[in-house]
Symmetry: C2
Subunit: 655 residues, 2 copies
């Protein structure tokens, strides 16, 4: 490490000397630091830690007594033990109002959503009873509202009906639904326990926006059945099949009484939504509008007996709370694997939604949320749900927003909602008998409309065209083919983008910004000037096997282009190629090979290879592979400015 000691001694007369006049008498410059050699195990465990425990979840356990650790552990699993102790009446007031509001919103939605999943209406209500209770004990988000949601219901419904006919084989269908729910929970919990939560980040925001928008359109289209009172309807979810069904039944399949009821209440719901948007204080108007619609329309049908004129009604909802479904889950046979596959997909989509909601509100109220712990909570909740006749529940965008605006303080609002649903199940369900299906369709349509986030899509278009392609790919995939196709397109495009990034990193030619020591991309700073006889290339990525050849070839092409230009202009040729390595955060063996090959090619052209500011990891590896001794330690500089000072002292003087 001789060169390091030297650099320490010469530090007094380094870059600073640039601006003094006698800089040429002391052309020393700062040397690039080589970080202290790391212990292999330390390095490895640091990598593991960053990958799986980047949020340092065990921080609070440090230096604690055993019993304290047990308490902390229990509090980690059941956060209610921690925040419950400071719970008070003021908080309860907020939670009570919020809980009642989301309950009034969730009851009609649940009944509608269970239809999307091809299940009887009570299963939607069941899923708003048990899962929120479990979540309240284990979850750490204070604002999320738990229950069935539109997109997951649709996804589950379409995936399940590919396997079993929901009408002909209703029992098997329901059993498979519980099986899928069970494995959705298991998948979620496992991702959390093994701290693989970051995997859901691989579904990009743009893809999610497109997917959600497409799913919303699909769900709205499905509602045309109830809304128009059509009896024969396609099982496919793509827009072409649905439109075919709709027009095909226009002659005799539509029921005008249904349409009148549906349209009236849809207008009412949309108007309520509009009011809520206009005045934030009136958020409760759209929140209770669905329940009011249900009550009014049910009463109306009951007194006019519109059901005899072809208006379809709910007819029957099972009374009483969730029965056990432990024995209904397929733990053996063909359906085990199918249930697992469907559950894994539905579980991951449900997670994406819940985690996004949790993060949004945590940022708004500035509290920390451990994504992995959330997943364990959501997973447990779904496993318990699957044993008590629930299907996949997760956080609902619309109800969480209402919950937040209604002033919820803690997860107690979920408990309140759950209790209201309990009372509904025990006492009120028979009253829903005359509720027209058209109202449920209107409620669903008005609910999913807000999932079409066209503003986000416009912003995506403005910021990143590639993201927009992913967004539209997912959207059209869902609308024109199926939910599964849209999802597949979204994931594929997201991955393609990542791979493109690591295969074709950017490179840039740097120039000197006049009267500074700063070297920047000449495309971004058109007044930056190139250094005569020196080409400065910045490589904007870690150099790995996937891009090392490209980087080598691209750098040589920059050189060739530059030399051709210089020849044309009759200027002196390039003598130094400075590679600015600041953005090169890592290098692997293929990368070092590429650098060696670059060095050899440059030698043939009598151009010197010079490196500027390699980072700690890169420096370490360049040393280990003896690349530094190949090109010479004195060819590695702390900054581009230092390198230019040595390569072209005359130019540097003209600062």
């Amino acid at each position: 490490m001789g060169h390091r000691t030297e650099s320490m001694d010469t530090k007094e007369i380094d870059v600073r000397s640039l601006s003094s006049s006698n800089r040429h008498t002391l052309p020393y410059v700062h040397k690039v630091g080589v970080p202290p050699k790391q212990n292999l195990w330390k390095e490895f465990s640091a990598m593991l830690k960053e990958t799986f425990f980047s949020d340092d979840p065990l921080r609070s356990f440090k230096d604690q007594s055993r019993s304290r650790k047990f308490v902390l552990g229990m509090q980690a699993i059941f956060p209610i033990l921690s925040w419950g102790r400071s719970y008070n009446l003021a908080k309860l007031k907020g939670d009570l109002i919020a809980g009642l509001t989301i309950a009034s919103l969730c009851i009609p939605q649940d009944i509608g959503y269970s239809k999307l999943a091809n299940l009887a209406p009570q299963y939607g209500l069941y899923s708003s009873f048990v899962p929120p209770l479990v979540y309240a004990f284990m979850g750490s988000s204070r604002d999320i509202a738990i229950g069935p949601v539109a997109v997951v219901s649709l996804l589950l419904g379409t995936l399940l009906q590919n396997e079993i006919d929901p009408i002909k084989n209703a029992v098997e269908y329901r059993r498979l639904a519980f099986t899928a729910t069970f494995f959705a929970g298991i998948t979620q919990a496992i991702l959390g326990i093994f701290r693989l939560g970051f995997l859901i980040d691989f579904l990009s925001h743009a893809a999610v926006v497109g997917f959600m928008g497409g799913a919303a359109i699909t769900i709205a289209l499905q509602q045309l059945k109830g809304f128009l009172g059509i009896k024969k309807f396609t099982k496919n979810t793509d827009i072409i099949s649905v439109m075919h069904s709709v027009w095909g039944s226009a002659q005799h399949g539509w029921n005008w009484q249904t349409i009148v009821i549906g349209a009236t209440f849809l207008a009412f719901l949309l108007f309520a939504k509009y009011i809520g948007k206009k005045k934030k204080k009136l958020f409760w108007v759209p929140a209770i509008a669905p329940l009011i619609s249900v009550i009014l329309s049910t009463f109306f049908v009951y007194i006019t007996h519109a059901e005899k004129k072809g208006v379809q009604i709910v007819k029957h909802i099972e009374k009483g709370i969730n029965p056990s479904s432990v024995n209904e889950i397929y733990f053996t046979g063909d359906y085990l694997l199918k249930g697992f596959r469907i559950g894994a997909v539905a579980g991951i989509i449900a997670l994406t939604e819940a985690v996004a909601i949790g993060r949004t509100f945590a940022t708004m109220k500035d509290y920390q949320l451990d994504g992995n712990k959330e997943m364990v909570a959501l997973g447990t909740m779904n496993v318990v749900g699957s044993l008590t006749s629930c299907y996949v529940a997760t956080g609902s965008f619309s109800r969480s927003a209402v919950n937040y605006m209604a002033g919820c303080q803690t997860a107690v609002s979920n408990i309140i909602m759950s209790l209201v649903v309990f009372l509904t199940l025990e006492f009120i369900t028979p009253l829903f008998e005359y509720t027209p299906n058209a109202i449920l369709s209107s409620i669903i349509i008005s609910a999913v409309i807000s999932l079409i986030d066209y503003e986000a899509a416009i912003l995506i278009w403005k910021t990143d065209k590639f993201d927009f392609v992913a967004c539209m790919g997912a959207f059209f995939g869902v609308v024109f083919h199926s939910v599964k196709t849209g999802l597949l397109i979204a994931v594929s495009i997201s991955f393609a983008k990542l791979l493109l990034q690591v295969t074709r990193p950017r490179t840039a030619i740097l120039g000197k910004i006049p009267r500074t020591n700063v070297y920047r991309n000449i495309q971004q700073y058109p007044d930056a000037t190139k250094v005569p006889g020196v080409l400065i290339v910045r490589v904007d990525s870690a150099i790995y096997f996937s891009n090392s050849n490209y980087i080598r070839e691209r750098t040589l092409r920059w050189l060739t282009d530059e030399e051709e230009q210089l020849k044309k202009d009759g200027l002196p040729k390039i003598q130094f190629l400075i590679v600015e390595m600041s953005p090169v955060t890592d290098i692997d063996t293929s990368g070092i090979h590429a650098l060696e090959e670059l060095y050899r090619s440059l030698q043939k052209r009598s151009v010197q290879l010079v490196l500027a500011n390699p980072g700690p990891v890169v420096m370490d590896k360049l040393h280990a592979s003896s690349f530094t001794s190949l090109i010479g330690e004195d060819k590695i500089f702390l900054t581009v400015a230092d390198a230019v000072l040595t390569c072209s002292p005359k130019f540097a003087e003209d600062v």
Copy 2:
């Protein structure tokens, strides 16, 4: 763009003024440039160009007449038309010597390798006749030696025998081999035509080293059958099964005469190899040693009639050149798909080998090689080969090295070799009748030994531990299970590495290197000092959906850690968080969301967010999404030094 004009005006008194004493009277600093808005189509086509035409293959076609373009086009497809015109006698001399040398090496190797592919010996020779001829016309590498190679022969052999028994159904097996060869060629050509050549870069150098080493061991183990004269031998290639076969037959299955012949000549071959390594001038000794061994041992067996004492001999090689195999390829039926799958895998592995060889020698002699064009040449060669009874041919490591050292000048050396093989097929094959199999085994063992690149493995261990895991994974996968498993492990680990890179990028805390304006990682430069009241974090990667949440959380954690430390030490708290964006080459919508969330969280903690040096693309997107107006244009600086100058003028003064 008001702020830009301003920055132009103030440029005279910018960072440079740092070192003047009156800097506080004029605290203006350089503004970050916003690149000129790009046309959408231009942006898109630039991306396409970098991805698929990064080597600018049409450069020479620019501004040329039509007829000239045709000539250039023909020369692009058949490079021989271009270099053939300057061919002369001096070059022919070099090529003649090199061609004869590699011919003497390839003939015995071909016979041996065809056994690895479970084909009769003449097919190896066929594959050294037609493919090299085709390559000579279409390829652009001057040093590669074309023909069957050990690893691809083994791979093809094991994949094919999973489908068809090569002994019981020899005809179908051969037909499937030609089908696979056909599709290997098609795969290679298509990758080249669609300029997807970069896909083979996804197999990392480390993985290839491990895979090749494992394959070499496997091949050597397979030779124990011929070497020990064992008759009953396992079909599996893993070391456990092979050793079981070997020890199981130790009592009565070994033939001592065979062992004596094999061992003697193996010692001779290894000694020749040693000589060749010691004195580079004697490279021809190991090159002709195999042929000498074949001649000597054949003569020996012929006069002693050792074949009657259990020494297995070649027995019969079909005389005459390649028959047509057009009608043998399965263009329909089940075997079409199987042939395609096997061919695609074998074709890609063959490509990896050929392209690596081509690149190595192109760098050594400093000529350009268009990887995609090479793929088209190799693909065409294999398609033609498959129609003329050849199996997959590619560039051979060992023979190419010999070709280079023997002084080859152009691909004419391949033509010479091809002609010698032609003469061999026409006249000499009957003489191989008495060649003992043990000799072929010895030749193969001595050939594949050099594929075990333990020096490279040591270097990989030294430079990159993760690469080493990929290398060993591939190695042990091949040795202990199968070639396919090893390949799968290699590809999976390589991909995992890439994904890890984009999921968990590095971040670093920067400090000021004393007496400079340079801010660097405090881990690499322990004497760098932190700026009081300011935390400088560098993010070392593009911010994409896959890492945006991590980056946000990690940055906040740096802040929390720092604040805890400051609190303990009783120092003033952090007021500014400077994010050094130099390495952030791109950002997507999720990334901007994360920045917004970061900004909001910081506001809650009354910490100001400041950005330093965002690149052109990032700047563009920050503008498009109005993030710049959210945090304020004046919070974005050209350099960290500028930012510190504004945030903590007192500290900056102490330079």
